[in-house]
């Protein structure tokens, strides 16, 4: 609708701003004229070389002053420029003229149609105004009518409200009057819940209007019925046939009937107790006869216990808590109920625990205990659930306690089993020691036996460790209890089981040393030797190996004092030492008994001239040789003194020279006792005192030296108690020489043998009635012949 009227349309356009399109340009100008912002125009407006836009020199500006512009042009421009400008202006004016004509032509039709439309609208509005007036009149009439009607209906409405109130009251009354009948019916139909609901609805009203005789009657009736109902409920409650859910329902109803909560608690609990106890009895029956084997395995037992007893217990606790504890009520009742529940649960769980414990105690088999561990795990897990339900009770703690006890008991049993296994091993060894002796090849299997026994004991320990390790497995719930993490590992397994076992091994070893001493060697000496070696092996390697294994398997986090490896090793070493000492003693005893008998039973005064070495001496040498072989199987050779490597030739000479002395000895007469003393003292000056039953070292030579020392000392003492004839002395000479020939190679220091044998011959000569020694050559001949 905008029409370009007037304005500087034909104004000269600036030389640099040639409009890009004739269509576009006039709109921009028009917009400018009407003061509309035109970004393109403004941008263009800054361009004129005349400088100030909107100033008097701006040909498009509002304040254009033709005089100023002309003067400016005239002043600034040359003639040519002015000519150019003039042509330009003419061109622009022409273009603007044609633009204006086009615009007028375009907009003419629009002006005409707009005028028509406005005229039409004027007519329509007039019509509408009339209709509106009519509507307003009608509305006024309607309002009047409506007011009239409502005023008429007012009374009736009030009556209706009253009537409906009466109706409700009547229905209530009817309900009340029908209540006894309904209740009876409900009771008959056993719809107790319904009955209670009815009654509880009516109760307050009845209570309120009980001063009216009719209501009184109803109330009495109702109360009677409800008492009856309560009675029935209680009977049902006591009856015990119903499940926990029914029971809970009963209790709920009774509670709604305002029965005393405490009594109900008691009854509920006693009822639950009945059922749970029955279950416990069933469980107990599964324990089997006392002493007899249990009927089911432990996992099944625990499973059953968990599934039946514990889950029922949970149910009872849950329903009880729902019924009594979590009820919105007096705080005192809640607390009382809670206390009762805790006492109840505790007492029942105690019974259950004792059953479980009895069952666990029945579990004596020492094989795989994964079943037990799983059972314990399940037991523990279920108890956790129970404890979560009832945090006030101490079931969880007690349950853990039971598990701990079971674990301890288990360790104890394993220890016993290990010990008995060890004993069995020993018995086996004993038997196999006895058996091949009959077959005639007694020694070759000693080392094998040692290997077998130590390997089997080690295996047994390992398997036991594996079993015990189950207790601390990751998937077992109780394994992360502090007990199982710390004390169980260190005190139980390490100290109780492994250290205990090693100690018992040492203990057994010591027992062998002590008992046999009194009862005359019921242990075969080879066994002593074997055990000694076993203990020594333990000392050197096995103990530390086992302990390392244990420590690895059970990462001990506990810092309670533990037995160090060294003390165990020391103990084992001591046991080994004692066993070896005992072995030496026993073997020495056997040989010395032989010698003693041979000396004591013979009449040395009246013997014949010696022709042979006595058989007993040969026997001594034989036995010593066999002991040598036996010990050699288990122990290393050991160190001899330097001279022992010498040939036997020199031994002879040493012996002969000392024999020379001892042969001298008998030559003194009894009237010159001082000489004897002098001589023997001089002899003793050159030989150190001999410790007869001294501890031996762990090598063959030392062992044999010990045995030979004991034997020869016995020989010496026996000889001193006897009186000899001439040939008796000679026989002893022969025997000693024979012994000397064969025994030197067993001992670490042959001088010891020489000394003792010289002493024997010397003592014999001293005890001789007619001391005439035999020629050395003859002795040698006899011995070599023998």
């Amino acid at each position: 609708m905008s029409v370009p009227q007037g304005g500087p349309l034909p104004g000269p356009a600036e030389p640099g701003s040639e409009p890009p399109g004739g269509k576009r340009r006039p709109h921009g100008m028009l917009k400018l004229y009407y003061g509309l912002p035109d970004p393109a125009g403004e941008a263009r407006g800054g361009l004129p070389p005349g400088g100030d836009p909107g100033g008097p020199t701006d040909i498009n500006g509002a304040h254009f002053d033709p005089e100023v512009f002309l003067t400016k042009l005239r002043k600034e421009c040359s003639l040519a420029q002015l000519m150019d400008c003039e042509t330009d202006m003419v061109k622009q004016i022409r273009a603007l003229d044609s633009d204006m004509q086009t615009l007028v032509y375009e907009n003419y039709n629009k002006f005409i149609s707009a005028t028509d439309t406005i005229r039409k609208m004027k007519n329509d509005f007039k019509k509408m105004e009339d209709e509106m007036d009519c509507l307003a009149a009608n509305m006024a009439v309607i309002t009047e009518f409506s007011a009239c009607i409502s005023s008429t209906l007012q009374d009736q409405h009030e009556q209706i409200t009253k009537l409906s109130g009466v109706h409700t009251l009547l229905r209530k009354l009817q309900f009340l009057f029908e209540l006894p009948a309904r209740l009876t019916k409900c009771v008959e139909l056993e719809a107790y819940g319904q009955a209670v609901r009815y009654y509880s609805k009516a109760r307050s009203i009845l209570h309120q209007y009980q001063h009216m005789p009719s209501f009184q009657g109803i109330q009495d009736d109702c109360q009677k019925i409800m008492a009856n109902l309560a009675q029935k409920l209680r009977e049902k409650f006591r009856d015990g046939g119903s499940g926990a859910k029914d029971l809970a329902e009963c209790v709920e109803l009774l509670l709604q009937l305002d029965e005393p909560a405490e009594e109900l608690c008691d009854e509920f609990l006693s009822h639950a107790r009945c059922r749970l106890e029955a279950e416990l009895e069933a469980l107990e029956a599964e324990l089997g006869q006392p002493g007899g084997a249990p009927i089911t395995d432990i996992l099944e037992f625990i499973d059953r216990g968990c599934n039946i007893f514990v889950s029922n217990m949970c149910l009872v606790i849950a329903s009880y808590q729902e019924l009594f504890v979590s009820r919105e009520g007096v705080q005192g009742i809640t607390r009382m109920a809670q206390d009762k529940l805790v006492a109840f649960v505790n007492s029942l769980m105690e019974t259950y625990f004792s059953l479980v414990e009895r069952r666990i105690q029945l579990e004596k088999g020492v094989g795989d205990n994964s079943l037990l561990v799983r059972a314990l795990d399940r037991f523990h897990r279920r108890l956790q659930a129970l404890a979560k339900l009832l945090p006030a009770s101490n079931v969880a703690a007690e349950g853990t306690e039971i598990v701990v006890r079971a674990a301890k008991e288990r360790i104890r049993q394993y220890l016993l089993a290990l010990q008995s296994f060890y004993q069995d091993c020993l018995t086996d060894v004993r038997q196999s020691l006895a058996a091949p002796r009959l077959a005639g090849k007694e020694s070759p299997n000693l080392a094998e036996l040692l290997g077998t026994i130590s390997a089997s004991v080690l295996n047994q320990i390992k398997s036991v460790l594996t079993y015990v390790h189950l207790f601390t497995a990751k998937d077992i719930t109780f394994s992360n209890k502090p007990y199982f993490k710390g004390e169980f590992c260190s005190q139980g397994v390490r100290e109780g089981l492994i250290v205990g076992f090693i100690k018992s091994i040492c203990q057994t070893a010591r027992q062998f040393c002590e008992t046999t001493g009194d009862k005359g060697g019921s242990t075969p000496p080879a066994l002593l030797l074997l055990l000694s070696r076993l203990c020594l092996d333990y000392e050197t390697s096995t103990i530390s190996y086992i302990l390392t294994l244990t420590d690895e398997q059970f990462l001990v986090q506990d810092h309670s004092p533990i037995t160090p490896v060294t003390s165990l090793c020391a103990e084992a070493r001591e046991a080994a030492q004692r066993l070896l000492n005992h072995y030496v003693k026993v073997q020495g005893l056997i040989i010395s008994q032989m010698l003693r008998k041979s000396v004591e039973t013979r009449d040395w005064v009246n013997t014949i001239e010696p022709r042979n070495v006595r058989a007993v001496m040969k026997r001594v040498v034989e036995d010593t040789t066999s002991i040598d072989v036996q010990v050699g199987l288990l122990y290393e050779e050991g160190v001899r003194k330097a001279q022992s490597s010498d040939s036997s030739k020199r031994t002879f000479s040493v012996y002969s020279s000392s024999r020379q002395q001892s042969r001298y000895a008998p030559s003194y007469t009894p009237s010159a006792p001082l000489d004897t003393n002098l001589l023997s003292n001089i002899q003793k000056l050159f030989s150190e005192c001999i410790d007869i039953f001294s501890p031996v070292e762990f090598n063959k030579v030392s062992v044999l030296t010990g045995i030979i020392k004991i034997s020869l000392k016995t020989f010496l003492e026996c000889v001193r108690l006897r009186t000899f004839g001439r040939y008796g002395l000679q026989q002893i000479q022969v025997d000693c020489y024979y012994l000397q020939l064969y025994l030197w190679r067993f001992v670490c220091d042959e001088n010891l043998v020489h000394f003792l044998l010289d002493e024997i011959v010397g003592s014999t000569a001293h005890r001789c009635l007619d001391p005439v020694p035999m020629e050395q050559s003859v002795i040698e001949v006899i011995c070599e012949r023998g």
Binding site: G517, D518, K519, G520, L589, V605, N606, P670, P673, T676, N677, S680, N681, K684, C689, D691, I692, F693, S694, K713, E717, R720, T723, G725, L769
Partner: protein, 357 residues
């Protein structure tokens, strides 16, 4: 002044007096003509009378016999006054009577009734226990009673001891590994400790103050203490020697002191406080310990091995066959060994004062 008696194998009896004040040893030698002496015991009633077991060799047979002897008068009256104290002073014993043992075999030992009037003797011969009555003036011995030990094998008594308690009616004997107690009235066995030692039992002694306590020693290197009412196991066992223990002796007045001599040529003096008649558990026990330590520092030769071991004497160079407490001074004891050396020792002074105070 004390007197101890000792024997030599060479058929002499030496009476040795030890003068405590001057530390002088006097020696008197009595010739024992019958043969080499194996056992000797003095009469408790008459100090001039003694009994010996000796070896007699005749016709290439060795018999051990027993006899009662009387010492010459002047020795009884106080030998230290004797002008000649050299060893050449030899006198002969006067034979009172023989104990006739031809029927019973070799005599092992002779023991006097400890409290009696010197009229009763027990001798052990092979497997017989013989009770003798000495007649008037001890000139004749009559066999009044005997008991025989029966069993399989050849049983031999090795030693015996007359209990000073029970009115002197009990005798304990040892054979092989067993100890037996006898009632001299009925000559019946009253107790029997089987396997008292692992090997031969060498010697016995009764506790002078506690009537049921008995000490024994044997070839298993142990000294054991027994309560004869309960013979299944020993009250206490000492295992200090390293060879046969030949002799064990209670001190006559302080029965916690026990001596044992062994063929490892050592004598061990033990303080068995726990089983003595002295009240056990002195408050001064700790002092005793420190005393021993002091003592250890003073005398290097004596080493207390244990709480109960007071001292170990190692002066002997060969087997010790006999130890005996002095009958006059309870702090003195003597020991005899194969090398013919007689050693007289005294209880360590610290211990002596400890016991006395």
């Amino acid at each position: 002044m004390v007197g101890t008696q000792s024997l030599k194998y060479d058929n002499q009896i030496h009476i040795i007096d030890f003068d405590d004040e001057n530390n002088i040893i006097n020696k008197n030698v009595l010739i024992h003509q019958a043969g080499e002496i194996w056992h000797i015991s003095a009469s408790p009633a008459d100090k001039g009378v003694l009994a010996t077991c000796y070896n007699k060799t005749s016709d290439s047979k060795v018999m051990t016999c027993a006899a009662v002897w009387r010492m010459p008068k002047e020795l009884e009256s106080g030998s230290h006054e004797s002008p000649d104290d050299s060893s050449s002073n030899t006198q002969t014993l006067e034979l009172l009577c023989h104990l006739d043992n031809t029927a019973h075999g070799n005599m092992a030992c002779v023991i006097w009734e400890p409290m009696g009037d010197g009229k009763k003797l027990i001798s052990l011969a092979d497997n017989h226990l013989l009770l003798w009555d000495l007649q008037e003036s001890s000139s004749n011995a009559v066999l009044s009673n005997s008991a025989a030990l029966e069993g399989k094998g050849q049983l031999k008594f090795t030693s015996g001891r007359w209990s000073p308690h029970h009115n002197c009616t009990q005798v304990a004997t040892a054979n092989d590994t067993a100890i037996r107690g006898w009632d001299t009235r009925s000559m019946r066995q009253i107790y029997y400790i089987e396997n008292a030692h692992g090997q031969l039992v060498r010697d016995l002694d009764f506790n002078p103050n506690k009537q049921y306590y008995l000490a024994s020693c044997g070839d298993d290197c142990k000294v054991k203490f027994w309560d004869t009412r309960n013979v299944t196991e020993p009250v206490k066992t000492l295992e200090e020697h390293s060879h046969w223990v030949w002799n064990v002796r209670y001190n006559h007045s302080h029965d916690q002191l026990v001596l044992s001599g062994s063929s490892d040529s050592r004598i061990i003096l033990s303080n068995m406080v726990s089983i003595s008649s002295e009240p056990f558990g002195h408050l001064v026990d700790d002092d005793e310990l420190s005393d021993q330590e002091d003592h250890h520092q003073e005398e290097k030769t004596k080493e207390p091995l244990q709480d109960s071991i007071i001292a170990t004497y190692e002066e002997h160079e060969d087997s010790v066959y006999a130890v005996e407490w002095s009958s006059a001074d309870p702090w003195l004891f003597a020991s005899l060994s194969y090398d013919g050396r007689l050693v007289i020792n005294r209880v360590p002074r610290a211990l002596k004062y400890h016991i006395l105070l």
